[in-house]
Amino acid sequence: MSSDAVLASRCTACGAVSYPQHCLCPSCGGERFEPTPVEGEGTVVSYTDLYALAIDFEQRFLRLAMVELDSGVRATGQLLHETPAIGTRVKATIGVVRRQGETKIRGLQFVPV
């Protein structure tokens, strides 16, 4: 597993995978988890082009998406796809999603399959 993977949590008691991290398993209340990467292909659940940008962002707009991966795990991230629609197939990758001064924050970027 890559050192900068975005990690979901697999409950050691019931096997349910949750993302983001919870302190108690949303399915069974279990307290122990194994990390498992948020990875693979999936489909766009929804997306938006954000023009009123957050602090730290300077492009014309930021394309954000909610994606359901084939594993069943859903995640929010940046969408690097020119012609998205609900249902578009994408693949989860890890890249620089935000620069805070000198600090580069890495996270999920969904790209065309």
Binding site: Y19, P20, S46, L50, T76
Partner: protein, 394 residues
């Protein structure tokens, strides 16, 4: 539990204010206290709703500051921070104190002074309630969550940008009758959607949402005085009873919701309020919903149980939610046009309902209103407080 009455109401005009945060909360509090004519009855407790003073105004413990400014010693004082649901949450805290018998009279004030910082800082302050690792770091803001939500709802139920524009047009028209509203501007379908220059007037913010789908950033304060029923009777102010309060929570990251087009916390909170009040949806005459984004008014009107799921936009289109419709929604102008000083909004909704039920709403009076419902929506729906107020003639 004791029954609790609303005995006083007041608010400042919403908008860009030159008053300080402390002065804003004093002004609305004094208006509500004057309205209550408490006479010999002291204010036993003060609850202040606020989301951002620590960050954007560099001021903390503001309920204590309000007690000091109003010389209400030795009243109890609490500040409630519950995101954009702070207002109704603070109201609930005040209600509980009176209902439980720990206080006879409580002043509840919601306040926010957002224009103290620039737009970028203000947007970031509001975005800080999104999930820090799973949403915020990607550049997620509240408008972007609303944009993704709107796209799903539009695709699933056939809601169009025209429907969204109809919400904005209705609420702007309502606000023209509200002297407390931030925005006093009539808008038309032509101007924000159909004309060639509409894209200039109404640029995209978070597609498919445009500027006129989003509430403004406001300063303002709103206050109510709550009293135990026996005190309200002695004051000659009995009449507006707190009939029901319901609250519910949902997942922090929006993508974790099994059906991301549903506002489950609104559904549960509304059901709890109606159950507590022993009232049905049919009895409601006037509604204040949390239209921080136009799509939210439509979906909340369904989730609160007034229309079937997926049909809120049809009721809107038929004019049922208009000021002169069968179920007027946001006669105040809503967040869209009254404005949205986040911590004050829930209280402003309840001030509006109080005035409507007393028959004091002036030009925007919903004739014969006896039961009012408000939905105060925190986060992107992860903490929702709904309230039912009812008029009782004595």
């Amino acid at each position: 539990m004791r029954r609790v009455m609303v005995v006083g109401a007041g608010m400042t005009r919403f908008g860009r204010s030159s008053e300080t945060l402390s002065q804003l909360m004093c002004l609305s509090s004094m208006a509500a206290l004057r309205d209550a004519h408490l006479g010999e009855y002291p204010v036993d407790g003060v609850v202040v709703a606020n989301m951002g003073a620590a960050r954007i105004n560099r001021q903390t413990a503001i309920a204590s500051a309000l007690v000091d400014r109003l010389n209400l010693f030795p009243a109890t004082a609490e500040t409630v921070e519950n995101g954009p649901a702070s207002g109704s949450s603070a109201f609930k805290v005040g209600y509980q104190a009176v209902a439980a018998g720990m206080a006879d009279v409580v002043l509840v004030t919601g306040v926010e002074k957002m224009r103290a910082v620039n737009n970028l800082e203000g947007t970031d302050f509001v975005a800080s309630m999104s999930h820090p690792e799973a949403e915020y770091i990607y550049g997620v803001t509240l408008p972007s969550l609303a944009g993704m939500f709107a796209r799903m709802v539009m695709e699933r139920y056939g809601v169009t940008r025209r429907h969204l524009a109809l919400v904005a047009i209705k609420n702007h028209a309502n606000a023209l009758r509200n002297p407390y509203a931030h925005i006093q501007q009539a808008i038309t379908l032509e101007g924000i959607l159909e004309a060639p220059e509409a894209i200039v007037n109404n640029p995209p913010i978070a597609e498919p949402l445009h500027l006129f789908d989003c509430c403004p950033v406001s300063d303002g304060a709103a206050s109510l005085v709550l009293a135990a029923e026996d005190v309200a009777e002695k004051l000659g102010k009995a009449g507006i009873v707190v009939a029901g309060i319901g609250q519910a929570t949902d997942t922090h990251a929006v993508h974790e919701r099994p059906e991301p087009t549903r506002l489950t916390a609104v559904e549960v909170a509304a059901e709890r309020a109606f159950t507590m009040a022993g009232t049905s949806r049919d009895e409601v005459d006037v509604v204040e919903l949390h239209d921080a984004f136009t799509i939210l008014e439509i979906v909340q009107s369904e989730a609160a149980g007034f229309f079937p799921q997926g049909e809120g936009h049809l009721a809107l289109e038929r004019g049922e939610t208009a000021f002169d419709g069968s179920l007027p929604i946001n006669p105040s102008g809503g967040l869209k046009a009254r404005g949205h000083p986040v911590g004050a909004t829930g209280m402003a909704q309840l001030v509006e309902l109080t005035w409507q039920l007393r028959g004091d709403a002036g030009e925007r009076q919903v004739q014969g209103a006896r039961c009012g419902f408000a939905c105060n929506f925190g986060g992107f729906g992860n903490n929702v407080v709904t309230t039912l107020l009812r008029r009782e003639d004595r």
